[in-house]
Each structure stands twice: as structure tokens, then as C-alpha cells.
């Protein structure tokens, strides 16, 4: 059992959406579905292929890098219904190499203006809040890939 002061347990904001690594050496992944019949890839997971309606889908780990398809900044002072994070916030769609689009928050970038379309971004996991059991709830975001 962890002693007092040990790391708090981390839980995913939704286990069907974000898979946290079991070991520190592994990377977190978003989870999607791949159709065995037509090869289409979806995020989030689907029960049925939305292209060919086959129900033979495999759960897949999605690429951790993609490109910004769209981005905007929510700047209104009024908190959207149900929203639990800080204001303002950047969000948008990331296009993954598999073809799936991910609606996501962006981080590690300026609020002055939205990210440019086509910017290469990578997945990261951040603490979002705390659940009733006192665990850290972890969510996914994307951030621009640092140029070498």
C-alpha cells in the first residue's frame, strides 16, 4: 500500500477515450475504432463503422501526433454550461494521420491568437481535476511540437 505522501492515483477522464499508461515507461494514447471491413478509423470509439455500417471494429491506439485542422480561442467571460476549466481556452480539431479528427483543448501556446492550421501537434496528458475519491483526473490535450 502507498504510504502517506505517496503519489496520488491517476484516473482517466474517460477510460474509453484516453488510455493512461500502466508503467511510467509507456506513453498515453487516445483510443479509437478501426473497421475490419473498410479500414476507416474513428475517434471516439464507435459501436458501428459510420462509413460502411459493419459492426466488426477493433479498438486501436491512435497516433500521438497530428496537425491542427482548426483552432479558436473561447474568450467570453461567461463560463459555458458544464465547463470546469480556466478561461480563456484554446481548442479545435486535430487531424490524425489515420484520418480521424479529434476535438481537443490545446496547451503550451499563446492565447493571443489561435494556432495556425497545419501546425504539428502532439498529445500530452494533464491533470484536469479531482474525483470524489481524491484521485487525480487526467485529461488529454495537444500542444505544438517543439522545433529542434
Amino acid at each position: 500500500m502507498p504510504l502517506n505522501g505517496a503519489r496520488r492515483k491517476q484516473v482517466s477522464i474517460d477510460e474509453n477515450v484516453l488510455a493512461l499508461p500502466d508503467a511510467p515507461s509507456e506513453a498515453p494514447h487516445l483510443l479509437g475504432s478501426k473497421c475490419r471491413a473498410c479500414g476507416a478509423v474513428f475517434f471516439p470509439q464507435q459501436h458501428t463503422c459510420q462509413k460502411c455500417f459493419s459492426s466488426a471494429l477493433d479498438k486501436v491506439k491512435l497516433s500521438r501526433r497530428g496537425r491542427v485542422y482548426s483552432c479558436t480561442v473561447f474568450r467570453h467571460h461567461r463560463r459555458p454550461p458544464g465547463y470546469k476549466g480556466p478561461l480563456p481556452y484554446l481548442f479545435g480539431q486535430v487531424e490524425l494521420p489515420e484520418g480521424a479528427g479529434v476535438l481537443t483543448l490545446f496547451t503550451d501556446c499563446s492565447f493571443d491568437q489561435p494556432l495556425k492550421r497545419g501546425t504539428e501537434v502532439e498529445l500530452l496528458v494533464e491533470r484536469f481535476g479531482e474525483d470524489e475519491a481524491g484521485n487525480d483526473v487526467m485529461t488529454f490535450k495537444f500542444r505544438p511540437v517543439q522545433s529542434k
Binding site: H76, R78, E95, G99
Partner: protein
């Protein structure tokens, strides 16, 4: 199949009514429509009531305001397309001969601020990824403006034009048409590129239409019956990112053209879904008024003004008349009927014969309705 026609329309003025409920609003719209049609409530054979937020049994409550006549009552939810779906079902029932006389109504009573989005995954809601009516349209606008070089000034001019139209419309949320481009651009930024005045105000309101066969129309009213030449409803399909929303609006409008035996070039006006300014351009492309990326150009040329060859959003649409989800499609129907009858007063366009209403419902629904004289 026989023609289904509209012989009466009515509205409750859009605006903010803290002391009224959705049934109060719907009742006024239905009574105005029945008066316009000369039809007593007891002759109505079915009620189709659309609302995004009113919830279970709301159609029964509305029916109760008019009198519990025992007729079939349908409670319809399709977000902003709710009223349009109500009209489509009423038109279908009359056209197939199932009914001779029906009422379609749409109404909404809202809290101030953003429109609640229900049935979204919790992880999206708590992270602010689905906020109606701004997050999806703002992302769409960002892509659209970059792709076609459309400017914020052009968006601001749409808001100015629609406020002017609304100022000529007695049922609209805004009664002043004085808004300037600078005021739109300097208004608080909600979600880039959309400022507060590039988004329609959340409104309470209601709109209704009386739908019947031609034979019934002659019995009740001497007014010109307006024919529902097409009333198409579709839901979303899986689309690649660049086609999301566009595919559905394009599909329902072209299905409507096919059903009505016309094309976009035959239209005398178009009432388009414009909860935010950029969507007025995008929707005008989706329905074929112009090619992709040309929405801003036909606007700049003045073609979509009341004086132009294809006026768009003659009552100001969402940006001027107000964003009242359940009522908005039928508000466009009422406005279109007044235009086709020549009863639109100071905003009357020149001798229209054919018009299109294309209206989405939170990306999941769209209706394409063609009305003709």
C-alpha cells in the same frame, strides 16, 4: 400525392419574456396563425409541436392551451430544425391524404447565455468543447476564412445587413437597425473570429403554420395559398472533416430542389441558417446560390440585400430576428409566406414566386423547404 398548402401563419414576437413560458408563446403563435387562416381550432386534425428544450409532454401542454380536442399530438425535437421537422410531418400527412388540416408550431423559452447541449459525452462538456451556438461555427468560420480569404469586416457587414432587415420586421428581437461595422468588430470577442454581434441573440418566441389541402384552403380563406413544394428532412452522415455540416445542408437543399422541380437559379429568396455571421456565406454556398468560397462575393455585390436578385434572410434571420431554436424554421416559413403573399410591408421584395428555407439543427438535422405561390 396532392399539394399541401399553408393558409395561415402567425408568430409570437421574438425577444426576452421572463414572465412567459413556452406554452404562452406557442399559444399566441397558433392563435395568430388560425386567425390568419380563418380556421377554428376544432377543425384542426393534428398538432405537430417542435421545441429543442421544452421536453416531454410539451406538445400536450400546448394543445391544452388551445383546447383538448383529442387529436393526435406530436412532440418533436430536432434542435434548431424542430419547427421545420414539424412542418415537414404536417405537410406529408396532408399530401398523402391522411389529414386535411394540421397545425405545425415551433416554440422556445430559453435561459440567458449559451444554449445547453444535452447528450454530449461528459469529457467534451466539462472541457468546454461543445458550446452552442459558438464552438462548432467558430471552428468552421476559422477554416472558411483562411481557405477563401474572407475577412472579419465582411462578417461584420452581414450582421449590419441582418439588423437592418430585422428593424423592418415587427416580430424580431432587435427593433433598431443602427448597428455599425465598427460596433460589430469592437463588440466582446466570444470565440475567434466571432464577436457578440456576429452571433444571434438568444430569444424566446414562437411561430406557427396552418397546413391543409387545396380544397380545404378554398373553404376557409380567400388568401393566396402558399404551396409546400418540398419539405425535406435529413440527419447527419459520417463525413470527413472538410465536409462536416456542408454535406447535410447541401443534401437536403438539393433533395428539395429535385422534389420541387427547380434549382437554386429559380429562387427569388433564400432564408438560411445564420446563427453566426459566417454561416450566412457558407450556407448560401451549400444551397447553391453560388460556388464554394463565393458567398462573401455575392453578398458584397449586394445580391443578397432586400433589393438584390436573391435576397437572403429577409427578416434578419438569427442575427436580427433572434436565435430561438425550436421556433426559428417556422419563423422563416411565416416570413416566406408573407413575402410570397406580398404582405411583408417595408421589407417586401419584388414579386417573389419561389423561395427556399434551409435550416440546420445542431449539425445533426437539416431541413430544406421550398415554398411557392
Amino acid at each position: 400525392m396532392r399539394d399541401a398548402v399553408i393558409i395561415g401563419v402567425g408568430m409570437h414576437k421574438f425577444g426576452r419574456y421572463p414572465d412567459k413560458g413556452y406554452a404562452d408563446l406557442a399559444e399566441v403563435a397558433i392563435r395568430n396563425a388560425l386567425n390568419d387562416a380563418g380556421v377554428p381550432w376544432k377543425d384542426v386534425q393534428a398538432l405537430y409541436a417542435g421545441s429543442a428544450l421544452a421536453g416531454p409532454t410539451s406538445a400536450n401542454n400546448i394543445c391544452g392551451r388551445m383546447g383538448l380536442s383529442g387529436i393526435p399530438v406530436y412532440n418533436i425535437e430536432a434542435y434548431c430544425a424542430s419547427g421545420g421537422v414539424a412542418l415537414r410531418l404536417a405537410a406529408e400527412a396532408v399530401a398523402t391524404g391522411l389529414l386535411d388540416m394540421a397545425v405545425a408550431v415551433g416554440c422556445e423559452k430559453q435561459e440567458r447565455g449559451f444554449i445547453p447541449v444535452l447528450n454530449q459525452p461528459q469529457w467534451a462538456t466539462v472541457q468546454g468543447l461543445e458550446v452552442m451556438p459558438c464552438t462548432g461555427p467558430a471552428l468552421e468560420a476559422q477554416v472558411y476564412m483562411e481557405t477563401y480569404g474572407v475577412t472579419r469586416e465582411q462578417l461584420a457587414k452581414v450582421s449590419v445587413k441582418d439588423r437592418k432587415n430585422a428593424a423592418l420586421t415587427p416580430y424580431s428581437h432587435y427593433s433598431s437597425g443602427d448597428l455599425t461595422v465598427e460596433e460589430v468588430l469592437n463588440a466582446p470577442m466570444i470565440c475567434d473570429p466571432l464577436t457578440m454581434y456576429m452571433m444571434g441573440p438568444p430569444s424566446d418566441g414562437a411561430a406557427a403554420a396552418v397546413v391543409c389541402s387545396r380544397r380545404q384552403a378554398r373553404k376557409y380563406s380567400s388568401k393566396t395559398p402558399v404551396v409546400i413544394a418540398a419539405a425535406v428532412h435529413g440527419s447527419d452522415k459520417f463525413s470527413p472533416l472538410e465536409d462536416v455540416y456542408h454535406e447535410l445542408r447541401h443534401r437536403v437543399s438539393y433533395q428539395a430542389y429535385e422534389k420541387a422541380g427547380c434549382g437554386p437559379e429559380d429562387l427569388n429568396f433564400a432564408q438560411l441558417h445564420n446563427p453566426v455571421a459566417s454561416m450566412e456565406f457558407i450556407c448560401s454556398e451549400n444551397v447553391g446560390l453560388c460556388g464554394p468560397g463565393e458567398g462573401a462575393r455575392i453578398f458584397d455585390e449586394g445580391r443578397t440585400l432586400l433589393s438584390g436578385d436573391i435576397p437572403v434572410c429577409t427578416d434578419g434571420g438569427f442575427l436580427g430576428r433572434g436565435n430561438c431554436p425550436g421556433a426559428s424554421t417556422l419563423a422563416y416559413v411565416a416570413e416566406s409566406v408573407w413575402q410570397l403573399r406580398g404582405e411583408a410591408g417595408p421589407r417586401q421584395i419584388k414579386d417573389p414566386k419561389l423561395g427556399l428555407i434551409c435550416h440546420g439543427g445542431y449539425g445533426h438535422h437539416a431541413v430544406g423547404i421550398i415554398l411557392k405561390k
